[in-house]
């Protein structure tokens, strides 16, 4: 796993060809590449074999409740922000078989556990917000008294090729959350893509020893001062064009004190409890378990799968659900994400990726909801 700050190194540049070679080398080293690729009208994360699978020349426009791919008219490989997939499903899998057991003489024996050996993954094109999200999930699943073994197995050996966003998404607010746009943690290599009359190249920040080693094997050139400046300018421009803002000062206290704020009724009237936000959110970690048997009732298994606090079952105790109303579920989700998370894990649970805004069918925007909750209640 990568250390938390880039090593002080002279900056290096690689060409697009060398970048293609980087992906090959990672594959040869046994990593399974996961990266962005176009499918069903969106840029998703999937297994990729090389550069040819990347969304070359594809851009997107995002707004609340809206996501559309566009043609950029160039050959940029990372000319878009984040799509509906984060890296969450790579480590916190949507379905995890936990164990199977066989009935035996009124008792039972456990047959096997879920697979503990997982192939190492190389994340290609990870954005800074998502790197912070991975760090947040690491704290949840690996940082407490009990470690999630399935997450640990998937996360054990990961190579991260990050990309500094060249373009802010329409709903992004990483600047507000202090999570970007420049990648500062959780990567082995961080690339800034430059595409102009000087060629198609990537300015590389080295984030770890494994990163340095791989880079040495593919070869790189020292970055020119112009390119260094150009790369910094790209990132600065991205930072200036955030689609949203969300001031975070005192946000925990505001949300804790907002229990009776009328805004919750307002958002509850719009929220469909469809759980999209929790699905696309890179930090949401709720799961449930299903216990089932085969038809004869002889072999039982337990399977873990993603869950959402927007379902009625999530808070079920005998007699009913604690969060029976959509209002209480939305309030629970937002308060947890932006406030309780801080008390539980030491950071906000939100990284400002904007996915919940883009993918909400009711076009609910959490930055707008928070701004309304900060305002004194008016009836």
């Amino acid at each position: 796993m990568s250390p938390t700050a880039p090593l002080p190194e002279p900056c290096l540049t690689i060409s697009r060809e060398r970048f293609a070679r980087l992906l090959e080398v990672l594959r040869e080293d046994g990593y399974r590449l996961v990266g962005p690729t176009v499918r069903d009208g969106a840029i998703v994360h999937d297994a990729i074999s090389g550069v040819s699978d990347l969304p070359e020349g594809v851009g997107e426009s995002q707004e609340r409740g809206t996501y559309r791919l566009e043609s950029r008219g160039d050959r940029a490989l990372f000319g878009y922000a984040v799509g509906p997939h984060s890296w969450k499903p790579s480590f916190f899998a949507p379905t995890v078989p936990l164990w199977r057991a066989r009935r035996k003489d009124g008792s039972f024996t456990v047959l096997e556990h879920g697979a503990r050996e997982q192939p190492p993954l190389a994340l290609i094109g990870a954005r800074s917000c998502d790197l912070h999200a991975i760090a947040i999930q690491d704290r949840v699943f690996l940082g407490g008294e009990t470690i999630d073994p399935a997450y640990e197995a998937r996360r054990r050996r990961t190579f991260v090729v990050a990309v500094n966003c060249g373009r802010a998404g329409g709903t992004c607010f990483c600047v507000s959350m202090g999570t970007g746009p420049r990648a500062t943690l959780g990567f082995d290599l961080a690339l800034t893509e430059l595409l102009d009359d000087r060629g198609h190249r990537f300015i590389v920040d080295i984030g770890s020893e494994p990163g340095r080693d791989v880079l040495a094997r593919i070869g790189a050139e020292e970055t020119t001062p112009e390119d260094r400046e150009a790369a910094d300018a790209v990132i600065a421009r991205t930072a200036e064009h955030m689609g949203r803002q969300m001031p975070t000062d005192g946000i925990k206290e505001v949300l804790y004190a907002s229990v009776d704020h009328p805004r919750w009724d307002d958002v509850a009237a719009r929220c469909l409890a469809c759980t999209n936000c929790t699905l696309v959110c890179p930090t949401c970690f709720c799961s449930t378990v299903e216990d089932r048997t085969d038809l004869a009732g002889e072999v039982a298994e337990r399977v873990q799968r993603w869950d959402s606090c927007f379902t009625m079952e999530h808070s079920h105790v005998h007699g009913g659900s604690v969060h029976a109303s959509i209002k209480s579920r939305y309030r629970q989700w937002l308060t947890h994400k932006l406030a309780s998370w801080i008390d539980q894990f030491g950071t906000s649970g939100c990284v400002g990726c904007g996915r919940c805004i883009t993918w909400c069918p009711a076009a609910i925007d959490i930055t707008e909801e928070v701004a309304a909750l900060r305002a004194p209640a008016r009836r």
Binding site: H113, Y256, F285, A324
Partner: protein, 274 residues
């Protein structure tokens, strides 16, 4: 079987099964080896093969870890499946989990135990602890409310506890003419009980509404909120703080609770749907 896997239950055979009331029963297990060490207030996840798990407080004697005791009410799919098991059948056990009643904090002072309905089950280990070192405590009082006389738990032990230096006051919601005790609600017992608020540690367990009213009644008697403890109940799946279900604002009931002090939850305990 990996000891470090948090999800896998361990089979334990039911050694004894006792009926407590019409819908409540007690199971005893002999885990063998060093037994199962637990602190009063902790719970296990009990697994019925092929059906699922339920979070059940341990209600045995913490000074006797060789016997594991659970009092269970038949109210849902899992507890119903457990209720149908006979001696010799096994359930799966994961645990013990959770935070403990602050028995040590009460030493040298008074301990006030307030139980409603099945809430006496998670508090019984406290009583055993107190009885094991009775001289360490000054006044020890149990206030216990139940629906009706036939729904009282551990009736024979209530008498034994009285004779062992615990003041036991029992109240029921309603009763027939042959009930000689009071009829009413537990908070009224709190209203009348002899107590010194500056040296009392109160431990309250029962339905949430009963706990809310009891906490209020204790506050009205001058017992500071950090001296009052309740046992919360929320939907449990993993019991180790990974699945997110049991959260009560920032509290993971499975690992920061279920026992929490009243001052920790003071601002939200009275609010709806938190």
């Amino acid at each position: 079987m990996s000891a470090s896997d948090p999800w896998t239950p361990r089979p334990l055979v039911i050694a004894e099964r006792t009926r407590e009331t019409a819908d409540t029963f007690t199971l005893r297990f002999e885990p063998g080896g060093d037994g199962i060490r637990f602190a009063p207030g902790q719970f296990n996840m009990i697994y019925a093969f092929g059906v699922g798990e339920a979070a059940i407080s341990i209600s045995g004697d913490p000074t006797r870890p060789g016997t594991l005791v659970h009092t269970i009410r038949d109210v849902g799919t899992v507890t119903h499946a457990i209720a149908r098991l006979e001696v010799g059948a096994a359930v799966g056990i994961r645990g013990p989990y959770g935070s403990a009643w602050p028995v040590a904090r009460a030493r040298g002072g008074d301990v006030l135990i307030v139980a409603g309905g099945l809430g006496l089950a998670p508090l019984r280990p406290v009583i055993y602890d107190v009885l094991a070192r009775r001289a360490d405590f000054a006044r020890a009082t149990l206030l216990y409310g139940a629906r009706s006389p036939t729904e009282l738990l551990y009736t024979r032990e209530l008498e034994a506890w009285r004779s062992s230096g615990i003041e036991v006051d029992v109240v029921v919601d309603h009763a027939g003419a042959d009930w000689l005790g009071p009829v009413g609600a537990v908070p009224s017992l709190i209203h009348d009980v002899v107590l010194d608020p500056s040296r009392t540690i109160a431990m309250v367990c029962g339905p949430e509404v009963m706990m809310r009213f009891s906490v209020r009644a204790l506050a009205a008697r001058g017992v500071a909120a950090d001296r009052v403890h309740v046992s919360l109940e929320r939907n449990m799946k993993c019991a180790v703080g990974l699945c997110g279900h049991c959260q009560y604002r920032e509290t993971f009931v499975c690992k920061d609770g279920p026992v929490v002090s009243a001052d920790r939850i003071a601002t939200i305990f009275d609010r709806r749907e938190i």
